[in-house]
C-alpha cells in the first residue's frame, strides 16, 4: 500500500514540509534518499505546499498533533531535545528531532553508538522525559509509559519467575483478561513465533533467540498500537539474527503493526525497514532519510540489500569517524586542537630556538 508521506526536512533553522504524491513503486527506484532531488519535487508542486507549512507551524505553536488527509499519524515526534549533565558540562544527546510515522510503517533509526537513538526510543516509549518537545500517538500526547507502545529490549527481559506462556500472558493479565482468554491469546502468539511447544518451559531453558521470540510474542499479545524495538537482535549470533529477521518480516506482513526499530546495524535496517532514518551524533539530529522499496521478505545477504547498505554506510561513515575520534583519542578532538595550537608555539620555541 502506498501512502502520502510527510517529512519534516530541515534546511537551516527552517522546517519544510514536503508533501509528496503517491510514491511510485518501482524496482529501479527502490531506494530513495530524501535529498535535494526531492526538494525540487516539492518546489515544482507549487503554492499548496507553502499553505501546508503555515498550517503545520500554527499547529506546532498550539502544541497539537494534526491530521494528514483526515488520519492521525500513528506517531508524531515534535521538537524533541534532550541533554544530560556530565562531568564535562552538558552533553546534548538529541536536538530538535521531528519525525512522523504512519499507521503500518516499519521505520528504522540508524546511527553510530551514542547518538541518542535509544534515548529517542525511550522518550517515545515514555520511559524517559525529554527536555523539550512533545510526542503524540494518534490524537493524544504521550505522558509516561503505556501498553499501547510496547518496547522490546536488547535483552529479552522475560520474567524468570514465570514460565514461557505466563510471561506472554503478563500484559494481558494486567489488562484484565480472565485466565482462559489470556491463555488462548498467549498460545496464539506463541504459535506465531513457533514456540507453542515450549509454552511450559522455564525462561532459562530457552536460547537467546527463543527468548527474544517470546518477548516479541509477549509484546504482540498486548495488541499494541505500535512496537518499539531497541536493538532487539544485536546480542544474538548471526544465524539466529538471520532467522529472526525473516520471522519479524513475516510477522509484520501478517499483523501490519507500526514498528519503530532502533539499530546500529545498517544491513539489518535495510533488511527490515520501509524507511530508514539516519541520526547524526553529538547532538543527535536527523541527518537523512531513505526509503527502502524492496519486495518482502528480504534476505540479509540479498545483493540489493547489500547494495543499499553500502550506500547508507557512506552516509554514516562521517558520523562513525566522529565518534571514533572522540572515543579513541580524546586529546585530538576539535576543542583540544584549538587549545594546543594556542599554547603550542611557546613550548616549541624553547627547544627549537637553540
Amino acid at each position: 500500500m502506498l501512502k502520502n508521506i510527510n517529512v519534516f526536512y530541515q534546511v537551516g533553522a527552517k522546517h519544510l514540509l514536503l508533501k509528496m504524491g503517491a510514491f511510485p513503486y518501482s524496482t529501479k527506484q527502490m531506494l530513495r534518499p530524501y535529498d535535494k532531488e526531492v526538494l525540487k519535487v516539492s518546489e515544482s508542486a507549487g503554492i499548496e505546499n507553502l499553505v501546508d507549512i503555515d498550517h503545520v507551524k500554527a499547529d506546532n505553536e498550539q502544541q497539537k498533533s494534526h491530521k494528514v488527509d483526515g488520519v492521525w499519524p500513528k506517531l508524531r515526534v515534535q521538537h524533541i531535545s534532550k541533554s544530560f549533565q556530565s562531568k564535562n558540562g552538558r552533553a546534548y544527546v538529541l536536538e530538535d528531532i521531528n519525525l512522523e510515522i504512519q499507521q503500518g510503517e516499519f521505520v528504522c533509526i540508524v546511527g553510530p553508538s551514542g547518538c541518542g537513538k535509544t534515548t529517542l526510543l525511550n522518550i517515545v516509549a515514555g520511559l524517559e522525559k525529554a527536555d523539550s518537545g512533545d510526542v503524540w500517538a494518534d490524537d493524544h500526547k504521550i505522558n509516561g509509559a503505556g501498553s499501547d507502545r510496547v518496547v522490546i529490549f536488547q535483552e529479552a527481559a522475560l520474567f524468570p519467575w514465570l514460565n514461557v506462556v505466563k510471561n506472554v500472558e503478563f500484559g494481558l493479565k494486567l489488562k484484565g483478561f480472565n485466565g482462559k482468554e489470556r491463555r488462548n491469546i498467549a498460545i496464539e502468539y506463541l504459535k506465531m513465533v513457533h514456540l507453542s511447544k515450549f509454552q511450559h518451559a522455564q525462561v532459562h531453558e530457552l536460547s537467546g533467540g527463543m527468548k527474544q521470540r517470546v518477548a516479541i510474542a509477549r509484546a504482540l499479545a498486548m495488541n499494541p498500537e505500535m512496537l518499539l524495538m531497541d536493538e532487539p537482535f544485536s546480542a544474538l549470533d548471526a544465524q539466529t539474527r538471520w532467522i529472526l529477521h525473516y520471522e519479524l518480516q513475516n510477522i509484520w506482513l501478517k499483523t501490519r503493526k507500526t514498528i519503530l526499530f532502533v539499530t546500529h546495524n545498517i544491513r539489518e535496517a535495510v533488511c527490515l525497514a520501509d524507511r530508514i532514518i539516519i541520526l547524526s551524533t553529538t547532538p543527535g539530529k536527523i541527518k537523512k532519510e531513505f526509503l527502502v522499496e524492496l519486495p518482502r521478505p528480504r534476505d540479509d545477504n540479498d545483493v540489493n540489500v547489500a547494495g543499499y547498505s553500502t550506500m547508507i554506510m557512506k552516509e554514516l561513515k562521517a558520523e562513525i569517524n566522529k565518534v571514533m575520534k572522540c572515543e579513541m583519542d580524546a586529546d585530538s578532538c576539535v576543542e583540544c586542537d584549538i587549545k594546543c595550537t594556542t599554547e603550542g608555539p611557546a613550548k616549541t620555541d624553547i627547544g627549537g630556538g637553540i
Partner: protein
C-alpha cells in the same frame, strides 16, 4: 547411602558414650540423665498430651508473631527499597536496631503488654521483622531495572507493579530473609517462654528444671531441635530449591 551409614554409626556411638557416662555414675542422675529415661519422658510427654499442648501453644505464638513480621517486614522493605526518604531515615535506623539482641526487648515488652501471650508474640515479631525488612530492601534494590521498564511498557503501574514484578523479582532475597527471620523468631520465642512463664515448650523446660527432672529438660530440647529441623527442611529448603530451579540457578 554411605553418608546415611556414617550418620547412623555416629548417632549410635553418641548415644552409646552418653549411656556409658551415665553408667559410670560420675554425675548424679539429676545432672546427667540416661538416654533411656529421656526417651521414656519423651514418649510419656506425647502420650499424656503435655508436649503436644506445649507444641501447639508455642506454634500458635510463633505463627502469629512471625506472620505479622512477614507482612510488616515486606512492607517496610519495599518502602525503604523504593523511597529515597525512607531509605535515608528508616534504613539506617533498622540497620542499627538489628545489632540489638531481641531478648533486650523483654523489659519493654513486659511493660507494654504485661506478663502474657502478647509480650511473647511481640518478642517473636521483633526477632523476625528486621531480618525480613533488610532482606526485602536488598532484594528490591537488586531487581534489574530492565524488568521494571519492561513491565511499565506493558502497562504495569502502582501496586500492580509491586505485586506482579517487584515482589516476585525480589523473592529469592525475601525468602533468605524469611529463613533468617524464622531462626531469630524461634530463638526469641524460646527465650520469651523461658522468662515469661505461661505454657509453651519453654515453660515445659522450666517445669523440668523446677522438678529437678533433667530428662524432661533434655526431652523438650530434642523436641525443639526436631521442630526447627522440620520447618527448615519441609519449608525453606523446599521453597529455595523451587526458586533456584525456576530461575535456572541450579546447574545440571
Amino acid at each position: 547411602m554411605q553418608s546415611i551409614l556414617k550418620r547412623t554409626i555416629f548417632y549410635i556411638l553418641f548415644i552409646g558414650i552418653w549411656e556409658g557416662l551415665f553408667r559410670l555414675c560420675i554425675w548424679p542422675e539429676y545432672v546427667l540423665p540416661s538416654p533411656v529415661s529421656v526417651f521414656k519422658t519423651l514418649i510419656y510427654g506425647f502420650k499424656n498430651h503435655t508436649f503436644l499442648i506445649g507444641i501447639a501453644i508455642s506454634m500458635k505464638r510463633i505463627a502469629i508473631g512471625y506472620g505479622i513480621s512477614i507482612v510488616v517486614g515486606i512492607f517496610l522493605g519495599l518502602l525503604i527499597g523504593r523511597v529515597r526518604l525512607f531509605e535515608e531515615t528508616l534504613g539506617s535506623f533498622f540497620t542499627g536496631l538489628q545489632t540489638l539482641p531481641t531478648i533486650c526487648w523483654l523489659p519493654l515488652s513486659l511493660l507494654w503488654f504485661g506478663l502474657n501471650d502478647r509480650a511473647i508474640i511481640f518478642l517473636v515479631f521483633m526477632g523476625a521483622v528486621l531480618s525480613i525488612t533488610i532482606a526485602t530492601d536488598a532484594g528490591v534494590k537488586s531487581v534489574p531495572s530492565l524488568y521494571i521498564r519492561a513491565a511499565k511498557t506493558m502497562g504495569a503501574k502502582g501496586w500492580r507493579l509491586y505485586l506482579e514484578v517487584i515482589i516476585p523479582a525480589a523473592l529469592p532475597h525475601i525468602i533468605t530473609g524469611m529463613k533468617q527471620g524464622w531462626s531469630f523468631a524461634w530463638r526469641s520465642l524460646m527465650a520469651g517462654e523461658l522468662l515469661i512463664v505461661c505454657l509453651g515448650l519453654g515453660h515445659l523446660m522450666m517445669i523440668g528444671r523446677e522438678l529437678n527432672d533433667m530428662s524432661q529438660v533434655i526431652a523438650v530440647m530434642i523436641v525443639i531441635i526436631i521442630i526447627g529441623i522440620l520447618v527448615d527442611r519441609l519449608f525453606f529448603v523446599k521453597v529455595e530449591q523451587r526458586i533456584r530451579e525456576r530461575w535456572g540457578l541450579v546447574k545440571g
